[in-house]
Structure formats: structure tokens, C-alpha cells
């Protein structure tokens, strides 16, 4: 299996990134760090989907005169553009929540917040 996995090395890397992000979300105490973990997870999923579109030796799918196939798959790129916007939006909201929590509670450490409750 390891051998086969080596062929799909790029996908495996995104799984590892995903898990690293998940680790941060679960184990980190600081809300911003937690959220950075989430961003890592987002990135890993985006990387995975973009990697789905790769074709060896392919070029960007821009059909200018002189461009020659193979072109890489445009769909994952289009999807991920949307995905990135979603991620940005989530980040903006999360940060504003963290700012509010910090203003009201004076801390953004999860354990201290739990004590405050």
C-alpha cells in the first residue's frame, strides 16, 4: 500500500495537513490558534481538490493562440476559488467573534473562558 500511496503522494500530504489542522483545533488552547488550525484544514482540503485537477505536463487552461494541450482541469480551480472566499468569510467572522470575546472577557484562552462561565 505504501508503494501505491507514494504515487498519490500529493493527496497523502493533504491528509497529513488536514490532521495537523485538526490537531490544532482540538489541542490548542488559544482561540486564534484554534482558528489557525482550522485555516490549515481548509488549506489542506483546497490543496487536495486542486491536486485532483493536475495533469502531468499540463498547462493553465487559457486558450490563447499557441496554447497546446494537455491543459489542466479547470473545474477544481473554479471550485477552490469559491472555497477560498468561503474560508475568508469564515475567518472574518471568527476573528470578529474573538475580538468581541476578548473585549468582554479579557482573555481568549479556552480554559480561562471555561472558568469564567
Amino acid at each position: 500500500m505504501i508503494g501505491i500511496l507514494w504515487d498519490n503522494f500529493d493527496y497523502a500530504v493533504s491528509v497529513l495537513l488536514f490532521l495537523i489542522g485538526l490537531y490544532c483545533v482540538i489541542a490548542k488552547n488559544n482561540l486564534i490558534k484554534k482558528f489557525m488550525g482550522l485555516n490549515i484544514m481548509e488549506t489542506s482540503v483546497f490543496a487536495f481538490i486542486v491536486a485532483l485537477g493536475v495533469v502531468k505536463g499540463g498547462s493553465a487552461p487559457i486558450m490563447e493562440p499557441g496554447a497546446r494541450p494537455p491543459f489542466i482541469n479547470p473545474i477544481p480551480q473554479a471550485l477552490i476559488l469559491t472555497g477560498i472566499v468561503v474560508a475568508v468569510s469564515t475567518t472574518a467572522l471568527a476573528l470578529s467573534l474573538i475580538v468581541r470575546v476578548w473585549r468582554q472577557c479579557g482573555t481568549i484562552e479556552a480554559d480561562e473562558l471555561r472558568e469564567l462561565e
Binding site: 500500500m1 501505491i4 500511496l5 504515487d7 498519490n8 503522494f9 500529493d10 493527496y11 497523502a12 491528509v15 497529513l16 488536514f18 490532521l19 485538526l22 490537531y23 482540538i26 489541542a27 491536486a51 485532483l52 485537477g53 493536475v54 495533469v55 502531468k56 493553465a60 487552461p61 487559457i62 486558450m63 490563447e64 494541450p69 494537455p70 491543459f71 482541469n73 479547470p74 473545474i75 477544481p76 480551480q77 473554479a78 471550485l79 476559488l81 469559491t82 472566499v85 468561503v86 475568508v88 468569510s89 469564515t90 472574518a92 467572522l93 476573528l95 470578529s96 467573534l97 475580538v99 468581541r100 473585549r103
Partner: protein, 235 residues
């Protein structure tokens, strides 16, 4: 202790994921289903059908235009959400003072002022040439939004805000969804389908794509700047 547990848990999660990855179609292969099914048609006939040389743009705005309609809604949602969460927590008087008390560096300030028109021009370029080269409305809008942020930080917030007048700002924030609604309705009139474009690279198609690109760009830039200012008010 907790960390060890988490790591064990993640290791367990990792197994099936990695196994699945190993069994995915070969990375980079031209025979994988992702490449031979829907994408094939996009690549073969995308230019004439969708009216954009950059097939990614064609996919974003034409084939899967409705996704992008959702996307611009999401980003406006984020803007509305941030405003809703932060609105009315402090009055504006404090904010002005807080904004003007940022220490300024003369050098940075002049450099920013000098570069601002060029950055704006570049943003415009990215928007306009999104059809034929890497780029597009959102990318351009982000560049412009970044410019507004830089100006806020380095020059003055008032000056940056003047670029997006408060009276029409609610409309600028929704430029993205509005342009999609407009173009979508135009599509209904022209082709009978929401977000339908006339076949091929006609003038109408170009115009509609351009309206979308600009809508996305203006909306994106405004939203990014608005969120930044809102967060600045609060901090």
C-alpha cells in the same frame, strides 16, 4: 496526556483516509474520471461555448456561474455578519479618535501615496483581463481591498473611507450579488435561463461577463475594507 490522546485519535483517523487516498485515481493521470468526463467538454468547447479564453473564468462565470452567485452572497454574508456582531458596541466618536492616533511614518506614507494609483490600476487590470489571463473579478477586488487597507494603516482612514462613500456603501457592498441578479435576469431575457449567456464570444456575452467581473471586484473590495474597518473600530 490530552495531547497524546488526540494524537492517537488522529492516527486512527489517518488510516482510512490514507487508504482512501492510495486507492484514488492516479495523481496527474490524464485518464482519471475527473479529467475525462465533464472537464473534457469544458476544455474542448469551453472557449466557444462560454465566451472566455480563460476556461477557469468560463467555468466560474458561465458553466458554474450559480456557484459564484452563491460565493458573492457568502462574502456579503460575512460582511453583514461582522457588522451585525460588532455594530453598536462603541460609538463613532471614539473610533475617529482611535483611528487618527495611529503613529505615522512619513516614508511609508509617501510610498503608499505614490504607489496607490498603480495598485489601483493593477487591480483594474486583473479584473479586466480575467477573461484571457489568470485573474478575475475577485482577485482584482482583493488587490483593491488590500490597497484600501494599506491606505488606512499608512495614510489615514478618512482618506481611504472617502473612496467608498458612506451613503452608497451599502449598495457597493452588495455589488456582487446585484450584478449577478442583473446579469442573471438579462440571461433570462436573452436565452430563457437564469445566468444564461448567448452562445460564443458575442458583444453581449462580453458585456455580461464584464458586469459580473466588476460587480465581484467592487463588492469584494468593499466588503474586505468594510470588515477591516469594523474590526478596527472594535480593537
Amino acid at each position: 496526556m490530552k495531547r497524546a490522546l488526540v494524537i492517537v485519535l488522529l492516527a486512527i483517523v489517518a488510516m482510512p483516509l490514507l487508504a482512501a487516498m492510495a486507492a484514488m485515481p492516479r495523481f496527474g493521470s490524464a485518464e482519471q474520471p475527473a479529467y475525462t468526463h465533464v472537464a473534457k467538454r469544458y476544455l474542448e468547447r469551453g472557449v466557444e461555448e462560454a465566451g472566455a479564453e480563460n476556461v477557469v473564468t468560463g467555468v466560474i462565470l458561465n458553466y458554474r456561474g450559480f456557484d459564484t452567485n452563491g460565493e458573492v452572497t457568502v462574502i456579503f454574508t460575512a460582511c453583514a455578519a461582522v457588522i451585525a456582531v460588532l455594530a453598536g458596541s462603541r460609538n463613532r466618536q471614539d473610533q475617529r479618535e482611535a483611528a487618527s492616533s495611529v503613529p505615522e511614518s512619513l516614508v511609508v506614507r509617501y510610498v503608499v501615496r505614490l504607489l496607490a494609483p498603480f495598485i489601483a490600476l493593477f487591480a483594474l487590470y486583473v479584473v479586466l483581463f480575467g477573461e484571457v489571463s489568470p485573474g478575475g473579478g475577485f482577485q482584482g477586488g482583493t488587490v483593491f481591498g488590500a490597497l484600501l487597507i494599506v491606505m488606512t494603516v499608512a495614510v489615514s482612514r478618512n482618506q481611504a473611507e472617502r473612496l467608498l462613500p458612506l451613503r452608497i456603501r451599502p449598495w457597493l457592498q452588495i455589488a456582487g450579488p446585484l450584478s449577478f441578479l442583473a446579469v442573471g435576469t438579462a440571461g433570462v431575457v436573452l436565452t430563457g435561463w437564469y445566468l444564461g449567456f448567448p452562445q460564443g464570444a458575442t458583444a453581449a456575452t462580453r458585456l455580461m461577463l464584464m458586469v459580473l467581473e466588476f460587480g465581484i471586484g467592487v463588492g469584494g473590495a468593499t466588503v474586505i475594507a468594510s470588515i477591516f474597518w469594523r474590526l478596527g473600530d472594535e480593537a
